[in-house]
C-alpha cells in the first residue's frame, strides 16, 4: 500500500508523527481480512520523493466483544470522586496499543473498581435498612427522643425550691457582708485581722507551722493521721462589749485522735503467782477534765502534743516488747504492757487516753493504783533523749546537713577503732530494757529501805543508822549502815558499819573488814546481814568496854563453832576476866607466915551473841572447876581460873538502857 502524503511538509518529526498516527487510525478502520498479520511495506512519499521507508506490522484486532465493551463502558461510569482507576480513560479513546495498555492498572481485572463501588453502596443500603427496621418494628431497639427538660408539674414546688435556693444564697452573702462590716467597724487601733496575725506570730514562736493551701498545718513528727489546723475565729462573740478573755482571734483545730488528754501510767505490783501472766485486768482509765474548746491555743496544743508523745512512747515500747528476745516474756494487751521484772513482781505500763467526751468515771481508783511517777517521768525523758539524738547532730556539721553520724562514729575512722570497739558502740539499749532496769533498781531500793527501817524500829539495843548517799543514779544507790550503842558513840572502834551498793539485779555488801558479799533481791538476806552485824557489834562493844574499864579479855571468838547452831551466819563470844586476878596475894591467915594463895577475885564474864540465838551474858559464880594451882604445867597463874560454874544473868533486871551501860555496871561492880 502506498500512501501519499498530500500535505507538503518540511518533514519535522512531530508533524510527521501526527500524520502517521492519523494514517494508522484510518488504517484501523479499514475492514481487513480475518486475523492475519501482514507485513505491509509503507513507503511514504513526500511529494513525489520517497521520504522514508517504514515497515509496519499489521495486527488484526478483533472488535471488542460484548463483555469487553460493557467493561469499558462500566469504566466510564463515574461512581463519585473516589474513582482513581479511570485515569487513563481519556487516553484510551485516542488509543494506540501502548496507550491502551497503560490505561488498565496492572493485574486488575476491569470489574474490580466496579465491585468495590457496589460493595460500599451495599453497606450503606444495609445501614439504611437497619435504621428503617428499628424505626418501624421497635423490637430490640427503639428510637427514643432525647429527654427534654421536664418542667415542674407543679408550680408551687418550683416556687419553694427557688425560694430555698435564694435563701441559702442570701445567708451566705449576708454572713460575708457582716464579716466585712465587722472588720471595718472594729474600734480600737488594732483590728481583729491584725490581732490574728499577732497571735499567729506568737504561735510560730513556739510551734512549727507550714502553710498548705488555705490552711496552716502544725508539724508533727510521729505519723499521725489528721492534721492540726489553724483557723481564724469566725463565730460571733456572744458579748461583744464584754471581756475578750474567752475569745481568741486564733483557733486551733486538733485531729480527733488527739482529742482529750493522756498519760502513761507505770505500776509495780507483786503478784503472788509469778506464772500468772495471762490473767491481766484491763485498766479502765478514769476520766479527767479535758480542755474546753475555748481554751487558749497554747494549752490545747500542749495537751495535744502530750497525747501524741504518749502515744508514740507507748507504740515504741510495745514494739520493743514484741521484738525483744529476753528470758522473761512480755505481754502486750491493747493499751498495756506487762512484764515480770523479778519473780513475783510485775511491771505494767498502761497508756491512759481519755477523750473527755465520755462520762466521768465515778469512784476514784487512784487510791489502789500505785503510780511510779518517777519512772513515768524517766520514760518521758528517755524518749525525749531519743528524739534529741535523731534531730540534733553533734557539731561540727554544715547547716544544710542536719543528719549524719554521731560524733563517736565520725571519730572512729581517724582513731582506727577496731571491729570490737565499733560493735560495742553500735549496741544500744532499747527503751523497754532501760525502763525495766530502772524499775528493778527502784524495787530493790524500796525493799532495802523498808527492811532497814523496820529493823531499826524492832531492834532497840544498838541503834541502826542508815546514811543514804545523796548522789545516786537511776541504776545505782549506796547506803551506809552504822550500828552504834546509844551513849557510847565516842568509841568509834565499836561501830559496825556496812556499805550496801544497790544495783539493778542485786546488792553488794562491803563489811567493815572489807569483805564483800553479793545479795540477791530477797529482802530476808538484807535483814539477816543486819542482824548478824548487830550480834557482832555486841561482842565488839564488850571487848572495848572491858579494855576501858580494865577487865581483861581472855578470848574473843568472832565465829564460835560451839554451842547451838544459828539459823544463819554464826555467833560470836568473848570471855572477860576481872582485873587484879593474876597476882597472887600474900595472905597471912591467923597471923602465920605469909602464904601465896590464889587470887580471890576471879570474876569472869562470858558474853555470847548470835543473830538468832540472841544475847546472853554469863557470870562465873564459883570456882569449883578451877584447876589445881600446883599443877606443874601451869606456868602462868592466869590459867588457874578457867573453870567454874557460870550462870546466866537476866539482863532485863539490870539497870541500864542498853548492853553497854549494863555491862559497864556489871563490870564496875565486880572489880
Amino acid at each position: 500500500m502506498t500512501l501519499r502524503n498530500n500535505r507538503e511538509s518540511n518533514g519535522t518529526s512531530i508533524v510527521y508523527d501526527e500524520w502517521l498516527a492519523q494514517t494508522l487510525i484510518q488504517l484501523e478502520h479499514i475492514p481487513s481480512a480475518n486475523n492475519f498479520n501482514n507485513t505491509i511495506a509503507l513507503t511514504v512519499f513526500n511529494g513525489s520523493k520517497p521520504q522514508s521507508a517504514l515497515h509496519c506490522v499489521t495486527m488484526s484486532i478483533l472488535p471488542l466483544s460484548m463483555s469487553e465493551c460493557l467493561a469499558k463502558s462500566a469504566q466510564k461510569i463515574d461512581f463519585g470522586e473516589e474513582d482513581e482507576g479511570i485515569e487513563g480513560k481519556q487516553t484510551s479513546e485516542e488509543g494506540t496499543t501502548e496507550k491502551e495498555e497503560s490505561a488498565f492498572q496492572p493485574s486488575l481485572w476491569p470489574w474490580d473498581s466496579v465491585r468495590n463501588k457496589l460493595k460500599t453502596s451495599l453497606t450503606e443500603i444495609g445501614v439504611l435498612l437497619d435504621v428503617l427496621n428499628i424505626a418501624k418494628e421497635k423490637k430490640y431497639m427503639a428510637i427514643v427522643q432525647v429527654q427534654q427538660d421536664t418542667s415542674e408539674p407543679k408550680s408551687a414546688l418550683q416556687l419553694l425550691a427557688k425560694k430555698k435556693g435564694l435563701n441559702t444564697a442570701a445567708s451566705v452573702l449576708i454572713s460575708g457582708a457582716e464579716r466585712l462590716k465587722r472588720s471595718q467597724e472594729e474600734k480600737g487601733g488594732v483590728s481583729s485581722h491584725d490581732k490574728f496575725h499577732i497571735e499567729l506570730l506568737k504561735l510560730r514562736q513556739n510551734w512549727r507551722l507550714k502553710k498548705v493551701g488555705n490552711s496552716i498545718i502544725a508539724g508533727s513528727r510521729f505519723w499521725q493521721g489528721g492534721t492540726f489546723e489553724v483557723t481564724k475565729t469566725t463565730s460571733l462573740p456572744s458579748d461583744q462589749e464584754g471581756s475578750t478573755a474567752q475569745q481568741y482571734p486564733l483557733q486551733v483545730v486538733i485531729p480527733s485522735e488527739l482529742e482529750g488528754s493522756s498519760y502513761l501510767q507505770l505500776e509495780i505490783k507483786s503478784v503472788p503467782d509469778s506464772m500468772d501472766l495471762m490473767s491481766v485486768t484491763l485498766q479502765v482509765p478514769d476520766g479527767f477534765g479535758r480542755t474546753p474548746l475555748n481554751a487558749h491555743w497554747q494549752s490545747r496544743l500542749d495537751t495535744a502534743q502530750n497525747v501524741l508523745f504518749c502515744k508514740e512512747l507507748f507504740a515504741q515500747l510495745a514494739r520493743e516488747a514484741v521484738q525483744l528476745k529476753s528470758n522473761v516474756p512480755h505481754v502486750v494487751v491493747s493499751n498495756q504492757i506487762i512484764t515480770n521484772i523479778f519473780p513475783g513482781v510485775q511491771l505494767s505500763i498502761v497508756l491512759c487516753h481519755s477523750t473527755g467526751k465520755g462520762d466521768k468515771k465515778t469512784g476514784p481508783h487512784s487510791g489502789k493504783m500505785d503510780h511510779k511517777h518517777v519512772l513515768e517521768h524517766s520514760l518521758h525523758q528517755l524518749l525525749r533523749e531519743v528524739h534529741h539524738r535523731t534531730l540534733h547532730l553533734a557539731a561540727p556539721h554544715p547547716v544544710t546537713a542536719p543528719f549524719g553520724m554521731s560524733k563517736r562514729r565520725r571519730l572512729a575512722g581517724p582513731t582506727a577503732m577496731s571491729r570490737s570497739d565499733l560493735k560495742e558502740m553500735s549496741d544500744s539499749e532499747t527503751l523497754l530494757e532501760q525502763i525495766i532496769k530502772q524499775a528493778r533498781h527502784e524495787v530493790l531500793r524500796q525493799r532495802t529501805m523498808s527492811v532497814i527501817d523496820r529493823l531499826a524500829g524492832e531492834i532497840p539495843d544498838p541503834q541502826i543508822m542508815a546514811h543514804w548517799s545523796c548522789l545516786n543514779s537511776p541504776l545505782q544507790s549506796n547506803v551506809k549502815i552504822i550500828i552504834t550503842s546509844n551513849g557510847y558513840e565516842g568509841m568509834r572502834v565499836t561501830w559496825q558499819s556496812l556499805d550496801l551498793e544497790i544495783g539493778v539485779d542485786g546488792i553488794l555488801v562491803t563489811t567493815k573488814d572489807r569483805r564483800t558479799l553479793k545479795l540477791s533481791f530477797q529482802e530476808k538476806e538484807v535483814e539477816d546481814i543486819i542482824r548478824w552485824q548487830v550480834s557482832q557489834h555486841h561482842i565488839a562493844l564488850s571487848q572495848n568496854l572491858a579494855r576501858l574499864i580494865g577487865w581483861q579479855v581472855l578470848s574473843y571468838n568472832g565465829c564460835s563453832g560451839v554451842g547451838e547452831m544459828e539459823g544463819f551466819a554464826c555467833a560470836s563470844s568473848i570471855q572477860l576476866v576481872a582485873p587484879n586476878n593474876d597476882r597472887l596475894q600474900l595472905v597471912a591467915p591467923n597471923n602465920d607466915r605469909l602464904q601465896l594463895v590464889a587470887p580471890y577475885n576471879d570474876r569472869m564474864l562470858s558474853v555470847r551473841s548470835g543473830p538468832t540465838s540472841g544475847l546472853h551474858v554469863f557470870l562465873k559464880i564459883d570456882s569449883s572447876g578451877n584447876l589445881d594451882p600446883s599443877l606443874s604445867s601451869l606456868v602462868d597463874p592466869k590459867w588457874l581460873n578457867l573453870g567454874g560454874t557460870f550462870r546466866e544473868l537476866d539482863l532485863e533486871q539490870i539497870e541500864g538502857r542498853n548492853l553497854a551501860t549494863k555491862l559497864e555496871l556489871i563490870m564496875a561492880m565486880l572489880i
Partner: protein, 213 residues
C-alpha cells in the same frame, strides 16, 4: 590495740602457697587457736600528676579489715594519715579528670596488691595468715601476729618472738622495723599498716626483678 608483727613466710621450692598456708593453719589449730573470721589488707597506689615536671609523689591507700571504719594513706616519705573510709571518695575525686584537664592524681593500674586469709584467735594472740596476690597472681605469704594486752613493743617483743618461733621457726629473728623503732612508745595501727606496705613494696620489687628474665 596491741603490738603487731608482720613477717613474710618463705614458700619452699616445690610447694604451692596453698599447701604452706594449710600447714601453718594445722599447726595453729594444734596449738589451740580458733578460727574466727577472714581478714583482708589491700593497697592501692596513686601517682601525682605534675604537669610542671616537679618530682612525682606516690600515695598509697591501704585498708585493714581489723579497722573497718578507717582508711590509711601513706606518702612515699612515710607520712601517714588515718582517716574515715570516705577518704577514698576524696581520692577518687582527685583522680578524676575534669573538663579536659587530667586529675591531680592518677591511679597506677596493675599495682593493687592484697593479703587475704583466715584469722585465728589464741587467747591473747590474734594470728592472721595471708596469701598475698597482685592481680590474682600469687606472690607470697604474710603472717601477722598481734598481742592484744600490751601496747608497748619493748615489753612484749620477747614473748611474741617465742610464740612466733613455736610455729614459724627461724623466720622470726629480728623485730620488724616499725616495731624496732618504737620500742618504748605506744604502738598504733598505722605502724601495722606501714609494715604491710613495706612487705607489699618488696613483693612488687620482686616482680620487677623477675620479669626481665
Amino acid at each position: 590495740m596491741g603490738v603487731v608483727c608482720v613477717y613474710t613466710f618463705p614458700v619452699p621450692e616445690g610447694k604451692s602457697g596453698q599447701q604452706v598456708v594449710d600447714s601453718l593453719q594445722r599447726q595453729l589449730e594444734l596449738l589451740g587457736a580458733v578460727k574466727t573470721a577472714n581478714f583482708s589488707v589491700d593497697c592501692e597506689t596513686y601517682q601525682s600528676n605534675n604537669p610542671t615536671g616537679a618530682a612525682q609523689r606516690i600515695l598509697h591507700v591501704l585498708h585493714n579489715s581489723e579497722q573497718p571504719a578507717s582508711c590509711f594513706a601513706i606518702l612515699d616519705n612515710g607520712t601517714t594519715l588515718v582517716a574515715d573510709v570516705l577518704f577514698e571518695v576524696l581520692v577518687a575525686k582527685l583522680t578524676q579528670s575534669k573538663s579536659g584537664k587530667d586529675g591531680y592524681y592518677e591511679r597506677r593500674k596493675g599495682l593493687k596488691i592484697e593479703s587475704k586469709g583466715p584469722r585465728f584467735e589464741l587467747s591473747d594472740f590474734i594470728v592472721k595468715i595471708g596469701s598475698v596476690s597482685m592481680a590474682s597472681n600469687f606472690k607470697g605469704i604474710l603472717v601477722e601476729v598481734e598481742y592484744c594486752p600490751c601496747a608497748i613493743p619493748g615489753e612484749c617483743w620477747e614473748l611474741m618472738k617465742e610464740m612466733m618461733q613455736s610455729f614459724m621457726g627461724t623466720v622470726v629473728e629480728n623485730p620488724p622495723m616499725a616495731v624496732k623503732n618504737k620500742k618504748d612508745q605506744f604502738y598504733t595501727p598505722s605502724d601495722t599498716v606501714a609494715q604491710y606496705l613495706e612487705h607489699f613494696n618488696n613483693f612488687r620489687k620482686a616482680v620487677v626483678n623477675q620479669s626481665p628474665r
